[in-house]
């Protein structure tokens, strides 16, 4: 009798929990993997396609599905670190196959040479190139993410990628601590005499 009571109680409990789980599965269902959004937020949104995916979000989806996290040259090491931390994976060096990390750059059209073909305008994922057919084009530097996608379609090769110059407003201090200030002899990269000299 007591065994029967125990079984009934357990069955009742199982039924209740099953109903709760069933309710949750329907009403708290997550349509999209939220980790994709998180990954997408980390990616630099240059939409350059160097990762071999057509934009940052497709790469984010690929990473969520298990692709490597070191395929984003514009993001560089900082992005790889952030992704590693988010996904609990190990840090991997940037895959050189997809390009190397360069500083922030923006496209610059040598306007005298521009023939107004609009090909770069169509290529730009940011709508950062202004111009019309047979009119000179120009890059809106503030909107340019430096994705390089406009370089290839240009028939007259009049687009340069120029590094962004540091101004007073975006200058920042460097990390202090040069290696030669190491006091312990074995930490030094150069002999003491040379360092002191």
């Amino acid at each position: 009798m007591s065994i029967l009571t125990a079984i009934l109680i357990l069955l009742a409990l199982a039924a209740i929990f099953g109903m709760i789980l069933g309710f949750a599965a329907v009403h708290f269902k997550v349509d999209e993997d939220p980790v994709v959004d998180q990954i997408d937020n980390i990616l630099p949104q240059t939409q350059c396609g160097q990762c071999s995916y057509p934009g940052c979000r497709p790469y984010a989806e690929a990473i969520a599905n298990g692709d490597e996290i070191n395929k984003c040259p514009p993001g560089g090491e900082a992005t790889i670190h952030a992704l590693a931390e988010l996904l609990g994976r190990d840090f991997v060096a940037l895959d050189e196959e997809h390009g190397e990390e360069k500083g922030k750059r923006v496209a610059l059209i040598r306007e005298a040479e521009c023939i107004g073909c609009t090909k770069c305008i169509q290529a730009c994922p940011m709508d950062a190139i202004l111009g019309a057919a047979k009119q000179m084009h120009t890059v809106i530097a503030d909107e340019c993410t430096g994705c390089d996608l406009c370089i290839e379609p240009c028939p007259v090769d009049c687009i340069d990628m120029v590094p962004v110059e540091v101004t007073l407003n975006d200058w920042r201090w460097d990390l202090p601590g040069a290696p030669e200030t190491q006091l312990i002899a074995t930490d030094r990269s150069t002999p003491v005499t040379e360092a002191s000299a």
Binding site: D127, E143, G177
Partner: protein, 815 residues
């Protein structure tokens, strides 16, 4: 004098007591400004956006003239510190820790120091806040304490933040610097008046002047000034204990009021605004004297200069000129620092200019400020956290900054650090802690910027993708609509053709039959009508098609129309139309044919065409000439040929040409034939005349007969002509007259022939068959000319003969 700090004052956590080193520079009064060889005025001497240059190279500027205007809300104007010429606007290294170069206006002073026209405010109390702020903004005033924030912005806090306390920062806690001290000692009244103006703008209830009690002369001067201006009620001079960094804004507020500025907030959030004494003087000068900010008090100190002191220096003065003025000893100079030893930064060059925020130039010797000792490992002693005036945990921040764990640094309130350097000062391991924090702050700022820009980029990319998709969808929708329309049309067409297939067959056959029947009937009727209906000859082919239509019976026409409509509806209507057109054309051709025959008939007014053509020549040839008979036969053949096939006329006329080379008779024959040809298409009026004349001429030319016979023949011809032309046309008349006066008659005939030719040319467009008329037009003159020329000689001798013949004939007649 009471040297004890006020009992009601508060204190802040931590703080240090570095050697003051202020006495060296307070021994001499403030020196007057020196005029250097050139002034370098950076367009950005402030926090915010770079000012926009208003001058060009070569412009002459006056002292106090605005040379760069602010470009945004947080921006400040730049003015010419003295009169002179703009020699360049170029990038020049700035006195900034980055050592970056920015755009500067470079002025060569002319030495005259001529002021521009100044607009002082007579009574600032009459002006409202915005007007005063405008004035201060135009004067280019920024905070002179060191940060360089535009004063007009700081004086304009948000409306929902009422300011109840105005604090004048006169603490000047950093070692070596005495610029504010000397300013207060010498210009205390200006300081107090400036404070009054600021208090008026901010509508603050109380004013506090926070001053460290290591400046007794300045305190005394201020109190005297306050008493002299009878402002003791509103303004209170607070002596505060000497402790670094009591001059920090947040620390001074805490000392004076006990309140703390909230994390991430500004003093205005707690109803307090803090300004530097130098700024107060600048505001006073801008309002009361109209002078913009063109100079400031700067301390030149350090053991490397022989003479230490304060100087009123024009903005843009190169530091080397100042150092030279204070007798710099180059060999002694170890480090050149802008600002104080705690918060200042090392300058790489002596060519850098003095800017609005330059309160001190410290030319230190090696003994004074030795190189920092090598950095050692943090031993977690905790001295830094004891010294920190912001109650932070400096060593934690150090670890987080070094390992780039900026999130953790932020959660430890890194941004509350005022970078005072107290932690670095006390660190036994000589760790440059502040540099780590500066680095971390910069990285965080950049990361934040990158995040916002990448969000912005994502938005733009998504907007673009959405736009492209929408365009694609619109295109697709349009294409779909077109495809649907095409499919619907196709279905309709198929249905129509299915229905029309049987109908069309039945429609086509009866149509052809109807057209044929109509044509036949029309032909028959034309033949009947031809003689009577001369007037319709000129009608164009279109009318003829209409003529053909009435020829059908009403029922038949209706049938044809229905068939045509059915054909049209089934989108094959074109063939039906073409058939209709063809029918019209055929009927037109038929009509033209009958018309031609009709024209040739017309003179004889008889129904049968061919016999009538032959009639007149028959009469002329009745004199018994085989040649003429042959000509007759030929003409008949030609006229037979012409109605039969329109195209063959070309051949016949070409055939006529070779005959020219034949004998005169044959030529005459050919001529008559060619004459007959043009006559056919020619108009009603022209045809009979030319026909008659030509028969005349041909007869005259062709016959190598005796004069008598010829005369007879002619007369007979004329008579028959006259008889035939009962209508009494011109040709007949001239022929009649020609019997009396053959010369004139012949000449007239000639003229008429030419006229007829011209007429036929002009009527080319009107005639039903243009090919024929053009041929006749070309053929006729050629044939006529050669014939006429040959005939002319003959005619002259004939004339006399005819005259004789006429007389004899007359006599014969009479007889």
């Amino acid at each position: 004098m009471n040297w004890q700090p006020n009992k009601h004052l508060h204190t802040f956590h931590g703080g240090i007591h570095p050697p003051e080193n202020k006495d060296q520079s307070t021994q001499a009064p403030i020196e007057a400004a020196l005029l250097p060889d050139k002034l370098v005025l950076p367009l950005q001497q402030h926090i915010g956006q770079q000012a926009k240059s208003l001058v060009q190279v070569g412009d002459n500027v006056l002292k106090g003239q605005m040379i760069a205007e602010p470009t945004g809300y947080v921006s400040a104007a730049v003015h010419a510190p003295t009169s002179g010429t703009v020699t360049a606007i170029e990038t020049h290294a700035l006195p900034h820790p980055s050592g970056l170069s920015e755009r500067c206006v470079i002025i060569a002073p002319d030495g005259k120091d001529t002021w521009t026209e100044l607009t002082p405010v007579a009574d600032y109390q009459q002006l409202d806040k915005s007007a005063l702020l405008q004035h201060i903004g135009n004067a280019g005033i920024t905070g002179l304490g060191g940060a360089g924030f535009p004063t007009s912005v700081k004086l304009n806090p948000s409306e929902d933040l009422p300011i109840n306390t105005l604090i004048l920062n006169a603490a000047e806690c950093e070692p070596y610097i005495t610029a504010d001290d000397m300013l207060m000692r010498e210009r205390a009244e200006e300081v107090i008046q400036g404070l009054q103006i600021i208090a008026h703008i901010l509508q603050s209830e109380q004013c506090l002047i926070g001053i460290e009690n290591n400046k007794p002369e300045a305190i005394e001067a201020l109190q005297h000034a306050v008493e002299a201006l009878q402002l003791t009620e509103q303004i209170r001079v607070e002596r505060i204990p000497v402790k670094y960094p009591s001059g920090g804004e947040k620390q001074l507020i805490q000392i004076l009021t006990g309140k703390e500025v909230p994390n991430g907030g500004i003093p205005a959030d707690i109803g307090i605004v803090c300004h530097n004494v130098g700024t107060a003087v600048a505001v006073y000068r801008a309002i009361a004297k109209g002078e913009p900010l063109i100079s400031r008090i700067t301390t030149i100190t350090g053991d490397a200069v022989a003479r230490q002191g304060n100087i009123e220096v024009l903005l843009g003065t190169p530091i080397e000129a100042l150092l030279a003025h204070f007798n710099i000893q180059q060999e002694q100079l170890h480090r050149l620092i802008m600002g104080g030893p705690m918060m200042g930064f090392t300058l790489d060059s002596v060519t850098l200019p003095i800017v609005k925020a330059t309160n001190c130039i410290l030319a230190a010797t090696n003994r004074e400020l030795p190189d920092p000792a090598p950095e050692q490992a943090c031993i977690r002693c905790g001295m830094c956290s004891e010294a920190c005036p912001a109650t932070l945990l400096p060593q934690q921040l150090y670890w987080f900054s070094k390992s780039r764990e900026f999130d953790k640094a932020l959660s430890h309130n890194l941004l509350d650090c005022i970078e005072c350097g107290a932690c670095s000062y006390v660190c036994p391991s000589n760790i440059p802690l502040v540099q780590y924090y500066r680095f971390a702050k910069g990285e965080i700022r950049i990361e934040e910027h990158e995040r916002t820009s990448s969000d912005h980029a994502r938005l733009r990319f998504e907007a673009r993708t959405a736009r492209l998709e929408q365009e694609e969808a619109e295109k697709e929708a349009k294409r779909q609509a077109r495809a649907e329309a095409a499919a619907a049309a196709k279905i309709a067409k198929e249905a129509a053709s299915d229905a029309g297939e049987c109908g069309e067959k039945t429609a086509v056959d009866p149509k052809a039959a109807v057209v044929q029947a109509a044509l036949d009937r029309a032909k028959a009727r034309k033949a009947q009508k031809a003689a009577a209906a001369k007037n319709t000859a000129d009608a164009p082919t279109a009318d003829k098609a209409d003529d053909a239509a009435p020829a059908m019976s009403a029922v038949e026409r209706a049938k044809a129309r229905k068939a045509a409509r059915a054909a049209e509806q089934s989108s094959d209507g074109e063939t039906a139309d073409q058939g209709k057109k063809k029918a019209a054309k055929v009927s037109a051709l038929e009509k033209a044919k009958t018309k031609r025959s009709q024209n040739s008939e017309s003179p004889s007014t008889e129904g049968d065409a061919l016999p009538s053509l032959n009639k007149a020549p028959q009469k002329t040839a009745s004199k018994g000439l085989s040649a003429l008979e042959r000509a007759k036969a030929k003409r008949a053949a030609d006229s037979d040929k012409q109605p039969a096939e329109a195209a063959s006329t070309t051949d016949s006329s070409q055939e006529a040409k070779p005959t020219m080379t034949m004998s005169a008779l044959e030529k005459a024959k050919a001529k008559r034939a060619s004459a007959a040809q043009p006559e056919v298409p020619a108009t009603v009026q022209a045809a009979p005349a030319s026909a008659d004349n030509e028969t005349d001429n041909a007869a005259a030319e062709a016959k190598p007969l005796s004069a008598l016979e010829r005369a007879k023949l002619k007369r007979a011809q004329n008579v028959t002509d006259n008889a035939a032309e009962s209508a009494g046309n011109k040709a007949g008349k001239s022929a009649e007259a020609g019997s009396e006066k053959p010369m004139s008659a012949l000449e007239r005939a000639k003229a008429k022939r030419v006229e007829a030719a011209a007429q036929s040319v002009s009527e080319n467009t009107e005639s039903a068959e243009p090919a024929q008329t053009t041929e006749s037009a070309t053929e006729k003159p050629a044939a006529a000319m050669s014939a006429l020329e040959r005939a002319k000689a003959k005619r002259t001798e004939k004339a006399a003969q005819q005259a004789a013949e006429d007389s004899t004939a007359d006599t014969d007649k009479r007889d």
